[in-house]
Amino acid sequence: MEYFLELFLGGLTRGSIYALIALGYTMVYGIIQLINFAHGEIYMIGAFTALIVANVLTLNGMQGIAVLVIAAVAALVWSSAYGYTVEKIAYKPLRDAPRLSPLISAIGMSIFLQNYVLLAQTSDFVSFPSLIPDFAFMDPVAHIMSSAELVIVATTVVVMILLNLLIKYTRMGKAMRATAQDKTMAVLSGVNVNRVISTTFVIGSALAAVGGVLIASHIGQINFFIGFIAGIKAFTAAVLGGIGSIPGAALGGLVLGLTESFATGYVSSDYEDVFAFVLLVLILIFRPAGILGRSTTQKV
C-alpha cells in the first residue's frame, strides 16, 4: 500500500510538470493550430536560466528561499522572451503558408535551441542546486512524499487556477478565446490577433519555465536534451486531454504522469519512455479528440 501511495504521489508530481508544459502546447495549438515543437526547448532554457542564476547567486554567498525566488523569476522572464522571439522568427512569417511549413520550421527551431544551449553551455548533465527547502511539517510523511513534491503539486494547482481566472475574466483572456474560435471574426471585432498570439506564446513559455525550475530542483540535474522528452510527453498529455482544452491539459498531464509512474513501478523501468509513446499512438488512433475534446466535423 505504501509503495502504491509512493507511486501515486510520484505520478502526481510528474503529471503536474507535464500539465504545466502541456498548457503551452494546448494554448498555442488552440490559437494557431501549430504543434510548437520548440516548446520543450523553452522549458529546458527556463531550467538552464534558473540554474545559471541560482549558481551565480549561491557562489556570491546568497542562500535560502530568496535564491529560489530570484532564479524562478529569471527563468520566467527569459523563457517568455525566448517564446516571444521564437514566434516572431519562426512562425509569424509563415502565418499563411501551407500547414507543413510552420511544422518543419518548429522542428528546426527545436533543434537549433537544443544545440545552442549545448554549444554555449555544455553537453554534460549539470547538477541543479536543490532550492526547495525541506519543511519540518512534512517530516512524518517524508518517506512517501518529499517537500519538493508538495511544492510542485501545490504550485501547479495555484498556476492552473490563476490561468483559468486570466482566461475567463481578463480582456486578453477573452480576446484569446475569441481568436481560438474564429480568427477572422476576432480580427473583424477589433482583436489584435498578433498581440494575442504573442501573449499566448509568452504565457505558455512562462508556464513551461515554472515547470522547468520545479522539476530541475526536484531531479537535481539537467542537460540540453531534457526538453525533448519532456516536450513529447507534455504534448502527449495535451492530446490525451483534448488538444486546445486547458482543463484537458491538466487532466491529460495527470493521467500520463500516473500511468508512467505505475507502469515503471509495477511493470518495468527499462521502457519508461515507451509507455508515453505507446499511449500517444493509441490515443491518437482511437480517440484523436482526447478525453475532454469534442470531435469536430470538417466544413465542406
Binding site: 510552420p102 528546426g108 537544443q114 491518437l284
Partner: protein, 404 residues
Amino acid sequence: MKNKNPIVQSLLISLWFVFLTFPVMVIRVNTVEDVVEWRWWNMLWVAVGAFLLSFLWRYLLARKARGPRAGSMPIAQRIAGNRKLLVPFLAGLAAFVVVFPLLFSAYQVNIMITALIYVVLGLGLNIVVGLAGLLDLGYVAFYAVGAYSYALLNHHFGLGFWLAIPVGMAMGALFGILLGIPVLRLRGDYLAIVTLGFGEIIRLVLENWNAFSFGPSGIANIPRPGLFGIELSLHQATIYLYYLMIALVLFTVFVVNRLQNSRLGRSWLALKEDDIACQAMGIDRMKTKLAAFALGATWAGMVGVIFAAKTTFINPASFTLWESIIILSIVVFGGMGSITGVILGALVLILLPEYLRAFSEYRMILFGATMVLMMVFRPQGLIANVRRRYEYHGPDEEPQAERA
C-alpha cells in the same frame, strides 16, 4: 517599436538579442570548481551579429514579398532546358562519377558512400514528404528495420547480402504498412508526432530487448556485399560498394521519376492540393497515402541493409531521432519533391560537415537553422521541384509529359 529608421530598429533588435542570450551565452558556471566564467566577448558577437543579421533578414523578407523576378530562371532549370549545356554537363558528371574512386583515397570513397546512402534515403523520404505531403519524423525506424533484418538473419541463418536486399525491402514495406494503416488516418501534424513516437519506440525496443537485438552493444561482423564469391580486399570492397551505390542512386532516381509521372503520382499531388475534392473524385485517400508511406519504408529498408553491410557493425545508436531529422533536413533543404534538389541537398549537408571538420561541431545547429530559414525564405528548397505537366498535343500524338 514602430520606428521606421532601419538602423534604430536594428539597434533595438541587437539589444533585445543581447538581453535574450545573456544568461546562456555570457555566463557559464563551472559546478566542479565553483567558479563563474563571464564571457563578455560572446555578448559582443551577439550584438554585432544580431545587428547585421537583422538587415539581412529584412532584405530577404522584402525580396520574398516582391515575389520572383521576371526573367530570372534558376540555374538548374537553365541547364536542363538547354541541350547544348545539358549534354556536356551530364557527360562530365558521369565521367567524374565513374573515375572518382580511382582518383581518390579509400577514405574519400567511404565518405562518398555515406553521402550516397543519404542521397537514397533522402529520395526515399522524398516520396513520402515531397510527393505525398506526409510529414514522417520516424523514417529512421524503417532504416533500422532493414539494417537489423540483414544483421540478425545473417547472424542466425547466414543470410547473404543479395538475398537480404529484397528481404530488407519487404520488411520495410511490411512495417510501413503495419504502421501506416492505423496512423495515416490522422491529420498531418498528428502524423508527424506519431511517426516520431514510433521511431523512438523501435529504437528503445532495440536498445532494451537484449535477447532479440543484442541491446546497445549491437551486432558485429556483418559481411560486406559479395561479388560472385570473389574475395575482395578492403579497398576493393569499398570501390565495389561505391559503384553499387551509384547504381542504386540511378535506380532510385528512375523509380521516383516514374512514380512522379504516373496515375499514382498525380493522385499524390491532388491529395496534397485538396483532399476532400480528391476523395470526391473517387480516390481512396488511405490507399494512396499508404502506397507512398510503404514505398518510402521499402527504400529505407533497402538502404538499411546496405548500411549494415557497409559498416559491418550496427547498434541502436545509429538509428536515433537525429538521423530522421538529418534526412528530413536533406529533403527540405534540397527542395521537397525535387529529385535534383534532394541529391544536391544530401551531398551538401553530408559532405560539407565531413570536410569542414572545424565546422562539424556546428552541424546540428546549422541543420536546425537551415530548416527554419528555408521555410521562411525559400520553402521550395535549393532547387524547386519542376513538375512535369501533362500536355495535350493533338489526338494522334503519344501523350507527353513535358517540363513546364
